[in-house]
């Protein structure tokens, strides 16, 4: 029996029981809808984080204290041994291949006249920091110079939030602010960066790393940022940097590790990927329940139409004609539900996108569609087999 005849047959049967067909389809619609929406939120989160991280530049890598994989020293805590000298060493030996900036991060309260800003991130770094982190740009004034870094000059670059808090009405350039008890001259204002995970990226003050060490009484740095000049040479630069740091025997492989953006991204992606899968999995359960609904209704339909099946077989329908007839009905229900669910889910994620980033990926649509066809096939199979195996004599006698 040709497909178009089978299809018409299925359509007639479904239209004959409109309300029942709609309710059954609803189960599939909800399941597919949930998959599309939840996966779009998960994927959206993933792309948001990935954008944030790769916004820093894929050439970037970080030398941080402690061994690779977080192995600890015998004492149990990481002893930070990274210094400005290590950064200088790297800078000199990677010349032409990478730019290097040491970073010392602390928190302090800053003041200007009677205005106070508490809990400001103080980043001690070198003059080329704005070249290494591409998302950091100077909005007004200038950055500090290499000479100022070497001399330990008391100059500061302030973030946009600090600027609005301390200098609501005046230009900050050339003004003196207090970081703790020490006086710094503002030389520039950084462009606004917004917030990441609710952390204000603009409540920050950048000062030369040398003065920062003095300010906070430390002789180490939290991290050394290395930016390879060429994205293809990231792993080469990483190997080189490791060799350089191990060179003078002061540092061992237990004292530091170098994280590339690639490794950071893959960690993040594996976490958000798992989250997306979990969300999708939860949604898939509702699709499964919808599928059971389809199976249930198809079983009822087969029982109701026992005489029809008997008649069709007596008139010469082959087993597979009957099988296909019921299977196509079930798949049609699911495909219809799947399509409506995809459209509704797409609409809903457009609405959700006003609050979160959502991404309706092609694969999630294909997956949802494929899944609903599969649900129709799997859950339609048992009723269809039951129908095709009916004995025509008994089926015709069925009341």
């Amino acid at each position: 029996m040709p497909f178009n005849e089978l299809f018409t047959l299925a359509l007639h049967a479904l239209i004959a029981n409109k309300l029942r067909s709609i309710l059954t389809t609803l189960g599939i619609i909800i399941g597919v809808f949930a998959i599309i929406v939840l996966v779009s939120i998960g994927t959206g989160l993933q792309s948001y984080i990935t954008d944030q991280v790769s916004g820093l530049g894929s050439n970037l890598m970080f030398v941080i204290p402690g061994a690779e994989g977080g192995a600890r020293t015998a004492g149990g805590a990481v002893t930070n041994k990274l210094t400005i000298n290590d950064a200088n060493e790297l800078e000199t030996k990677l010349k032409g291949q990478a730019q290097v900036a040491p970073v010392l991060l602390k928190t302090a309260t800053i003041k200007y006249q009677n205005q106070t800003d508490k809990g400001v991130s103080i980043a001690g770094t070198s003059a080329n920091y704005t070249q290494i982190i591409s998302t950091i740009k100077i909005d007004q004034g200038t950055g500090f110079t290499e000479a100022q870094v070497r001399a330990g000059a008391s100059v500061a670059l302030i973030g946009a939030t600090v600027n609005t808090k301390l200098f609501p009405n005046t230009s900050p350039i050339g003004k003196n602010i207090l970081i703790g008890a020490n006086r710094f001259t503002v030389v520039g204002v950084l462009a606004k960066r917004g917030s990441t995970f609710g952390i204000d990226q603009d409540n920050i003050v950048g000062i030369p790393v040398t003065i920062a060490q003095r300010q906070f009484g430390v002789n180490t740095v939290n991290a050394i940022y290395i930016s390879a000049l060429n994205a293809n040479s990231v792993s080469f630069v990483k190997t080189q940097a490791t060799k350089i740091l191990l060179n003078d025997k002061r540092l061992t492989t237990d004292d530091f590790n170098i994280q590339t953006q690639e490794s950071t991204l893959s960690t993040i992606q594996s976490i958000t990927g798992a989250l997306t899968a979990a969300l999708g999995g939860i949604a898939a359960i509702s699709l499964l329940v919808g599928g059971i609904g389809v199976a249930n209704i198809m079983l009822v339909s087969v029982t109701e139409r026992t005489r029809e099946i008997g008649l069709r077989k007596a008139l010469g329908a082959q087993k597979e004609d009957i099988l296909k007839q019921f299977l196509i009905e079930a798949i049609f229900l699911c495909v219809l539900g799947g399509s409506v669910g995809i459209l509704l889910g797409y609409g809903a994620s457009l609405i959700v996108s006003y609050f979160f980033t959502t991404v309706v990926s092609v694969w999630s649509v294909l997956l949802a569609f494929g899944f609903s066809v599969a649900v129709g096939l799997i859950f339609g199979m048992a009723p269809a087999i039951k129908a095709s195996n009916l004995n025509p004599i008994e089926a015709l006698r069925y009341e």
């Binding site: 004959a16 005489r307 007596a314 008139l315 010469g316 004609d321």
Partner: protein, 225 residues
């Protein structure tokens, strides 16, 4: 030259096994029906005539014996071939009409041709012609619940003729009809037989059986001619 019978049953037996109890329904039936014949099979209920009809109609297979349909052995053919042979060679008319309730007369008549793979246009043309022959040319778009019992049975007869079968197998075709409608249906069968159609009629009503050319009595699983 001897004519090949349309239906030739040789020592057909049918037994049902239920745990240790064996029920012998047919105990060796030998029967020949020739082309153009009009045979009535009668017998009380439980005589085995329904089983005999199911075997002749290829809805059931005998436990032993041989069934030749126009010389071709159909005793042990596959389920697939049984369905195909039913479709092409047997035209069923049932006591309770067995029309699809959601389909029109025309769609009901076309049904066997769909399974035979007949093309849409040819199918419709033939179905319209057959409905005209049974006097329902005006009711082609009516559904069964808009037709009287007699009209429904005439739709069923048109359906049985759709694939131009070797035999019409009518199982109590007048059983659910009033005498007037029953008479109409019998007249149609008579006409078909006069046009050369082989008809096998199962009935327990003597006056209906009397319309046939030949009456075969079944009793306790045996023929009693």
């Amino acid at each position: 030259m001897k004519k090949v019978p349309v239906i030739q049953l040789k020592d057909i037996r049918k037994e049902y096994h239920n745990l240790d109890v064996v029920t012998y329904v047919l105990k060796g039936i030998t029967l020949e029906i020739f082309e153009g014949d009009f045979v009535a099979i009668t017998g009380p209920s439980g005589s085995g005539k329904s089983t005999l009809m199911n075997i002749i109609g290829l809805l059931d297979t005998p436990t032993s014996g041989t069934y030749l349909l126009r010389g071709k052995n159909v005793t042990n053919i596959s389920e697939r071939d049984l369905a195909r042979t039913r479709n092409k060679e047997i035209g069923f008319v049932f006591q309770s009409f067995n029309l699809l309730s959601r389909s029109t007369s025309l769609e009901n008549v076309m049904l066997p041709a769909i399974y035979a793979g007949m093309k849409g246009e040819a199918r419709k043309e033939r179905a319209l012609k057959l409905l005209g022959q049974v006097g329902l040319g005006e009711r082609i778009n009516n559904k069964p619940n808009q037709l009287s019992g007699g009209q429904q049975q005439r739709v069923a007869i048109a359906r049985s003729l759709m694939n131009d079968p070797l035999i019409i197998l009518a199982d109590e075709p007048t059983g659910n009809l009033d005498s007037k409608s029953g008479e109409d249906v019998m007249n149609i069968l008579d006409t078909l037989n006069k046009e050369g159609k082989t008809i096998v009629l199962i009935t327990h009503e003597p006056n209906i059986a009397a319309r046939a050319k030949r009456i075969i009595h079944v009793k306790d699983g045996l023929l009693n001619t």
